[in-house]
């Protein structure tokens, strides 16, 4: 197992370099001058622009800039934003908020999604199954920003049961509605995935064996069925925490939460290169680590899979 982890870690290096290079190239080599954007509509003094370009190293060849960035990372230096604040500081402010939001969404998704999936899988074809199926289809079809607006409109403005914008990100009650919106799509997906695997495994031969052994229903479902059905669900959930953090752009915007999504969105709008690259770098790391964790989890849950 140790060797497998080592190999996977080695494999992650080119992917990490590739992804960060990709985002780096997109941010810095595409048309649109970030320094000019810094001045907005105002005409800028060429000398000042040149000085700023030099200060941020933008006059160096692109690959050199990338090399400087990567070597900086190992010293924990994410660079400086154009406003002069270290990117690491910006992220230290934003990430805790988003992590709280994502964890809350994650929890909702597991509890409701898995429960719905198991129940509908066992009650296949019944009314509740149909109802949940329709519900998940609708949730999957409506873009997150629409779900967000409808939530704000109905619960925030019309019925006034939630605060339409989050004032205090430490308050879990205030974060609840945005977390629901953020997790809605994954929730629908988890419940459908769970339902599918439950239905599939219900037909498996070993379920018949379990029945023939005279096991009580509770045990047949709880041990034999669940142990098999939850393997794909757990692996999906493994990658989803990262997805939730990266997907918070829209939700945070609607509920005005000062997290990673909002920071990233503003940075993209203002061509704040260092901030964009910094945040994406962290998100990529989260993605890579979580996919490694998922692979390891898979092998732990399913004995047929060997570390190869």
């Amino acid at each position: 197992m140790g060797r497998y982890v080592a190999r996977r870690l080695l494999q992650m290096i080119p992917v990490f370099i590739g992804t960060t290079l990709l985002i780096f190239l997109m941010v810095y080599s595409l048309p649109g001058d970030p320094v000019k954007a810094l001045f907005g509509q105002r005409a800028s003094d060429p000398a000042t622009v040149e000085r700023l370009r030099h200060q941020f190293g933008l006059d160096k060849p692109l690959l050199t800039q990338y090399w400087d960035y990567i070597t900086g990372l190992f010293r924990g230096d994410f660079g400086q934003s154009f406003t002069g604040r270290p990117v690491a500081d910006l992220m230290a402010d934003a990430f805790p908020v988003t992590i709280r939001l994502a964890l809350l969404a994650f929890g909702i998704e597991i509890v409701i999604g898995v429960t719905l999936g198991v129940v509908t899988g066992l009650m296949r074809g019944k009314f509740l199954d149909r109802f949940v199926l329709v519900f998940t289809l609708i949730v999957t079809s409506i873009p997150v920003f629409v779900i967000g607006f409808v939530t704000v409109f109905l619960f925030g403005l019309k019925w006034k049961v939630i605060t339409p914008t989050v004032q205090d990100s430490m308050d879990i009650a205030q974060l609840f509605a945005p977390a629901m919106v953020l997790g809605a799509l994954s929730l629908a997906y988890v419940s459908r995935l769970t339902r599918t695997t439950v239905v599939e495994n219900l037909r498996a031969d070993y379920m018949r064996t379990a029945l023939a052994k005279g096991l009580p229903r509770r045990r047949i479902i709880g041990v034999h069925l669940m142990r098999n059905s939850l393997i794909p669900v757990v692996t999906f959930l493994g990658t989803d925490l990262g997805t939730l953090m990266g997907g918070a752009i829209v939700t945070e915007g609607i509920f005005n939460i000062q997290g990673v999504g909002n920071t990233l969105f503003r940075a993209i709008q203002t061509s704040e290169g260092p901030t964009v690259v910094g945040i994406v770098t962290v998100l990529v790391l989260v993605y890579l680590v979580s996919s490694l964790v998922v692979d390891l989890l898979y092998a732990v849950l399913d004995p047929r899979i060997r570390y190869a």
């Binding site: 609708i138 920003f145 599918t196």
Partner: protein, 314 residues
């Protein structure tokens, strides 16, 4: 896999062919997977609902004047500023009310279909080609090429579709439908590549491919005649569902202000409407409903096609 003909347990096939079989002939009649799937699909009401909806949206995109004679750009601030919907006035300009500029929400929604439909189809076409080719090469040739292409897929997977699209589009000061297509296709091909790779690897090991190779068929012939047809089912399913996702992402980009500019589009209209959400929710809800219905149709269609190919999960 496509050959259901099997010798009966009892004896040689010739004996079976000679005998008249009054009772037993129906279930043993050979049907191809495709025919079976189509039979299944035809009897699925969900397929028809989604198909009819999609035809409607396609018509809307192609000939919007069929649905309304109102100019979506025509603004009449004086009379209609944020006019409320008149739900009884079918197909009239004020059916769904007016927006902040006094434009007919109904007309704008009808005309807004075009951007979504074009982007949805073009991006899907693009990602299916790019992802399909990459996945097929990786799956069929394996080895170093597979490693390289799989890592490339991993690299792009590291950047979510919406995020990649935003960063790429931000670089364009003038954004048209085609820049959005380019941006979405650049970060949307990976799932197709994975599906294709998996399907090709499965098919490569199938007995009929080994047989074709033993008979001396060349690589191109095996790929195009034997493997490709059998990978179509999963690719079509994934592509159809992805199409809905692209339509949704395009609208999200427009809503964030990094998508389409100065085009009549659902995303742009929803984005404009958010400021008047409190006073005139219909301005947001009408295009949002059309948008959601389009996405839903594609998801339903994809589901129906998957069920038809794989009936055991129903």
């Amino acid at each position: 896999m496509l050959n259901p003909t099997q010798a009966p347990e009892a004896g040689p096939v010739s004996a079976a062919a000679e005998a008249p079989l009054p009772g037993g002939s129906e279930i043993t009649k050979a049907r191809s997977l495709g025919q079976d799937a189509w039979r299944e699909l035809r009897s699925n009401p969900i397929f028809w609902v989604s198909a009819v909806l999609l035809v409607l949206f396609l018509l809307m995109a192609a000939v919007p004047s069929l649905f309304t004679s109102t100019d979506p750009g025509h603004a009449d601030l004086r009379n209609h500023y944020l006019g409320k919907p008149e739900w009884g006035h079918f197909f009239q300009p004020d059916w769904f009310g007016y927006n902040g500029q006094g434009q007919s929400v109904y007309a704008r929604t009808i005309y807004g279909a075009r951007a979504s439909v074009i982007i949805g189809f073009c991006v899907t076409l693009g990602v299916t080609l790019v992802g399909g080719v990459i996945g097929m090469f990786a799956g069929y040739f394996g080895g170093l090429l597979d490693t390289l292409l799989s890592r490339l897929t991993d690299i792009f997977f590291g950047i979510p579709l919406l995020l990649g699209g935003m960063v790429l589009l931000q670089a364009f000061t003038h954004r048209t439908i085609w820049t959005v297509v380019l941006a979405l296709a650049t970060f949307g091909w990976m799932p197709l590549a994975r599906v294709m790779r998996g399907a090709v690897i499965t098919q490569k090991q199938a007995d009929f491919v080994t047989a074709a190779r033993a008979l001396g068929a060349g690589t191109t012939r095996i790929l195009l005649r034997h493997i490709l047809p059998n990978t179509l089912a999963p690719v079509i399913v994934v592509a159809t569902i992805a199409l809905g996702g692209f339509v949704s992402t395009e609208a999200t980009l427009s809503y964030l202000g990094i998508g389409l500019q100065s085009t009549v589009s659902w995303g742009v209209d929803i984005s404009d409407a958010q400021n008047v959400l409190r006073d005139a929710p219909h301005v947001l809800l009408v295009p949002a409903s059309f948008l959601s219905l389009t996405v839903l149709s594609f998801i339903l269609l994809g589901d129906a096609v998957r069920d038809a190919f794989d009936p055991k999960l129903r």
